[in-house]
């Protein structure tokens, strides 16, 4: 069982490990709703995913694997957790009230042969 500490609240922008959150005004075209009980905002090859509970949150994905969006539906905020038992990233709280939109950016790395996503 992972013991959760209280989440760190971001007002506008902040990171959890290799995932970055930024409050924005709208969701660009080309992003569609993804359904599920829980959304994995960033997968890790080691299973240490960054996840958000889907209740009260609408999750959008598009063709860009480095971007996604979260929209608060009927909640004031949502918490993002890191599924790792030790050396984990503190949970973060994304607020703004119903309707608020948070952009999710996944960290990338330069590769002379083409960029690739970095993952912890």
């Amino acid at each position: 069982m992972i013991k959760r500490e209280s989440a760190i609240k971001y007002e506008q922008q902040g990171a959890q490990g290799d995932v970055y959150f930024r409050k924005v005004g709208e969701i660009p075209e080309g992003f569609a709703v993804v359904k599920g009980k829980e959304h994995v905002l960033a997968h890790s090859e080691t299973g240490h995913n960054h996840v958000v509970d889907a209740s009260g949150v609408i999750y959008y994905e598009g063709r860009d694997p480095l971007r996604a969006y979260l929209q608060l539906q009927d909640v004031d905020s949502c918490d993002v957790h890191h599924q790792k038992q030790q050396d984990f990233h503190h949970s973060v709280s994304l607020g703004g009230g119903p309707g608020a939109i948070w952009e999710v950016r996944r960290q990338r790395e330069y590769d002379p042969a083409g960029e690739r996503r970095a993952a912890d």
């Binding site: 922008q13 080691t46 050396d87 960290q107």
Partner: protein
């Protein structure tokens, strides 16, 4: 039909977790007489004539390297008896095995159902596999011969239960075969056994991030960077709060055939370090950090992190 479990039944979960975890992780030598009885029981449970020969092997690798005969596959029969689908089972020989102690993960459920829910008849067919799990490693059953492996005799894990050893195999069998792993990531044997001479560039250039992280742990970040003589271009390591945003250090490193490559040393999580490669035209740690998150050009001014956890 059982619709729900009682409090007493739920309360028995930890006992099964403890017992079957211990079975799966056991490093004792196989109890060969018991195991051979278990093998015969396994065949009987599947309605198949017991094998005339039981051959012991020093590891699962030795077992799957044995000459094939006609498989009678009691596992398939047993699995179908308990109603599980196996249609997608690979043909590979390793999947013709039953995994002895390593079947503990699923046999535990049936042991619970048998004992705590009284489902005796429904689980009778697993008696052989259950008995084998408690006294030996893998088994490869054929019509007349069953090959059985010893249990692993070495098992190292980290404090999260992941396979982990920096100076030896994380799992090893009596015949010497083993698996090398760092924090749950399987690594080449040479990385561990030749750790002192492992090329530090692996920790910066290996394409798989888990392997890169494992290499860094084996070598040590300080050694990785020291051996490559990085030049610090820009440093912004300070944090205003415990959850402040550390921009990190921008490093200039000469790789073979690639002079003046730029890397960003960042702090991820609680003192967890990582080094990410960034474009060679980066001049500031903040700029490099922003680039890794897609902020570049005009959008760079929008990069205003409040913190990083």
């Amino acid at each position: 039909m059982i619709e729900s479990l009682t409090g007493k039944q739920i309360g028995a979960f930890p006992k099964y977790v403890r017992e079957w975890t211990a079975i799966g992780l056991c490093t004792d030598s196989a109890d060969r007489p018991r195991a051979e009885r278990a093998v015969r029981k396994m065949y009987r449970c599947a309605g198949i004539k017991a094998p005339t020969r039981i051959v012991w092997c020093g590891s699962p690798l030795a077992l799957v390297r044995r000459q094939p005969e006609y498989p009678c596959d009691p596992v398939d029969t047993l699995v179908s008896l308990v109603g599980m689908k196996i249609a997608d089972r690979p043909v590979a020989k390793v999947w013709d095995c039953c995994f002895g102690q390593h079947d503990a993960g699923w046999l535990a459920y049936y042991a619970f159902m048998r004992t705590e829910l009284g489902l005796k008849k429904q689980t009778d067919s697993l008696a052989g596999l259950t008995a084998l799990a408690k006294c030996a490693g893998w088994a490869l059953p054929y019509e007349n011969t069953c090959y059985v492996s010893e249990r692993h005799n070495v098992l190292h894990r980290d404090n999260q239960g992941r396979l982990h050893a920096l100076d030896s195999a994380a799992v090893q069998y009596p015949d010497g075969w083993g698996v090398y792993a760092v924090r749950g990531t399987r690594v080449p044997k040479e990385w561990v056994m030749n750790r002192a001479t492992l090329d530090p560039r692996i920790a910066l250039t290996e394409s798989n991030m888990d392997l890169r992280s494992a290499a860094a742990l084996l070598i040590g970040w300080e050694k990785v960077l020291a051996q490559l003589s990085p030049k610090v271009i820009d440093s912004e390591m300070g944090m205003a709060t415990s959850h402040g945003y550390c921009q990190g250090e921008l490093l200039d490193i000469d790789l073979p055939g690639e002079p003046h490559q730029r890397f960003l040393r960042v702090l991820w999580g609680r003192e967890q370090q990582a080094v990410l490669r960034v474009p060679p035209n980066m001049t500031k740690a903040r700029e490099a950090n922003a680039w890794t998150l897609g902020f570049e050009g005009d959008s760079l001014k929008e990069f205003k992190p409040e913190g990083r956890t």
